[in-house]
């Protein structure tokens, strides 16, 4: 049986194809990553690479190890479910070097309204304030402890709430008078200011204790004759007691 002679063209073509196929196979071996297709049509190493990303938020359990006192306080408050890093920001760096890096602690008025500012889209019953009406200008922390925000702690000074009065009195001749000189402040007023009011002077004679002729007060205090000065008007009809130059 005669063997069919293989034509010369076929042999050279076959060589070319063999080289091409071998080239492709080698290229595939070199170019396709080793782990590709281990679990599916993807690079298995990518999963580990993604999993090795740096962590920034440490989680509230991590904070508890050192700040257990604050944690305890927060645990019994309305903020019990608010993680520390909601307000204090990502804190892994702080945990790694507690003394060098301190986490943020928002103290101004800007942060709390992010959750507690009034927004009609918020769920009903969520505690909200109208920022422009709720003690404007005062940082929330003056009255509310963020780690236990339900009952505001009692303000230490009247100016915490009565800022405008305080700043006016500060530049007036009455600067040295304590608020309690003219107002009796019941303890309950500090907790429930709208339901329990402070007293206010009710008569001309009250101002007269210092300002009437014959008063025993220091002599540099201006005196008037209660009988003739201002006739039937009350003192505060003309003088604003917190800044008492005549208007």
């Amino acid at each position: 049986m005669n063997k069919l002679p293989v034509p010369q063209q076929i042999i050279s073509l076959a060589i070319v194809f063999a080289i091409l196929i071998a080239g492709l196979v080698i290229a595939r071996i070199i170019l396709v990553p080793k782990s590709f297709g281990e679990y599916g049509h993807y690079r298995a190493d990518a999963v580990d690479e993604i999993a090795s990303q740096e962590i920034k938020y440490a989680g509230y359990q991590a904070c508890r190890e050192c700040h257990d006192d604050i944690f305890e306080q927060k645990e019994n408050s309305n903020h019990r479910d608010v993680s520390c890093e909601v307000c204090h920001g990502p804190s892994v760096d702080h945990i790694n070097s507690p003394d060098e890096i301190k986490p943020i602690a928002p103290r101004g008025r800007g942060y709390c309204p992010l959750c507690h500012g009034y927004d009609p889209s918020r769920p009903t019953g969520f505690p909200q304030i109208i920022t422009s009406l709720h003690n404007p200008g005062k940082p929330c922390m003056t009255c509310h402890n963020p780690h236990n925000p339900l009952l505001p702690h009692k303000p230490e000074e009247c100016s915490a709430c009565h800022r405008e009065i305080a700043s006016e009195k500060r530049v007036s001749h009455h600067v040295s008078l304590a608020c309690e000189r003219c107002h009796t402040v019941p303890e309950q007023h500090l907790v429930d200011p709208r339901m329990t009011r402070v007293t206010k002077p009710a008569s001309r004679e009250f101002c007269g204790e210092c300002h009437a002729k014959g008063s025993t007060a220091p002599s540099e205090i201006p005196r008037i004759d209660l009988a003739t000065h201002g006739e039937r008007y009350l003192c505060w009809d003309c003088h604003y007691p917190h800044n008492p130059e005549a208007r």
């Binding site: 990518a46 090795s52 962590i55 509230y60």
Partner: protein, 258 residues
């Protein structure tokens, strides 16, 4: 009587055979070693085949503070500029007549400006959005190079070294959950904070949500908080008709939520 009964086990043999079982008793005490649980994720070894992660979102609890969106950007180095988000919060305002208005100024990170609309509002609420980690993900289907994939624990991930930045997946995602990273020029998306969940932590957005509007856990584990959430709520998934089988479940969702 003193003669040994071959059918009965002697004291010596009994104790000897018991001692062979001694190594097994270690398993009883293994969960007591601090930081170790036998099948939990706390032990140093993470077995992806044992997990299938998903998220629940309780819409009536969301207060729209945007802290989740901000924390996500912090945790995952997402560009600060607008339009680049792995998760964001949308505000739905539904008028008594006409179509619902949806807005999300800077993803809700700095809060929402007050609505001054001239129409009467029927209801309004916030809806956090993120990648739905679909069980049948269209983005994975269209990727021409195998750079985006579903991991064995049910999380849709992007291999940023393999992505060629062709944007097919961004087009394919019906939820708009992907963006092209402006510096890396690769597709980027929510990973459920894969680097955290594989170490037994919660995703950053879940960790910081002040009202627990986000619930994270396993689909397959009855004790998981997610399963509890699914038991106690009527949930929907977004765009169920597309058959993408999303794994982010929304509770208390209005019919307008898309």
């Amino acid at each position: 009587m003193n003669k040994k009964d071959p059918a009965r086990t002697g004291r010596r043999e009994f104790l000897m055979s018991c001692s062979r079982l001694l190594p097994l008793t270690g398993f009883l005490f293994y969960p007591l070693i601090p930081g170790k649980t036998l099948f939990g994720q706390e032990s140093g070894y993470y077995d992806p085949t044992r997990h299938n992660w998903a998220m629940g979102i309780d819409i009536p609890k969301c207060i729209g503070c945007g802290i989740c969106a901000a924390a996500c950007k912090n945790e995952n180095n997402v560009p600060r500029e607008e339009h680049y988000f792995r998760t964001w919060v949308e505000r739905y305002v539904i008028p008594t007549e006409g179509d619902a208005r949806v807005d999300s100024p800077d993803g809700g990170i700095d809060g929402f400006p007050e609505t001054k609309e001239d129409f009467e509002i029927l209801r309004s609420f916030f809806v956090p959005k993120l990648c739905n980690h679909c069980a049948n993900p269209p983005c994975v289907q269209v990727c021409p190079v195998g750079a985006t994939f579903t991991s064995r624990d049910g999380v849709v991930l992007v291999d940023e070294k393999y992505c060629v930045g062709c944007r097919y997946c961004i087009q394919a995602c019906p939820y708009g959950a992907r963006y092209l990273h402006p510096q890396k020029k690769v597709a980027d998306k929510c990973t459920f904070c894969y680097h955290r969940i594989t170490k037994g932590m919660l995703p950053a957005c879940v960790e910081v949500c002040p009202t627990q509007a986000r619930i994270f856990g396993e689909v397959g584990l009855a004790s998981s908080p997610l399963r509890r959430f699914l038991r106690f709520n009527d949930v929907i998934v977004l765009k169920a008709s597309l058959n993408t089988k999303p794994k982010v479940y929304y509770a208390g969702a209005d019919g307008e939520v898309r």
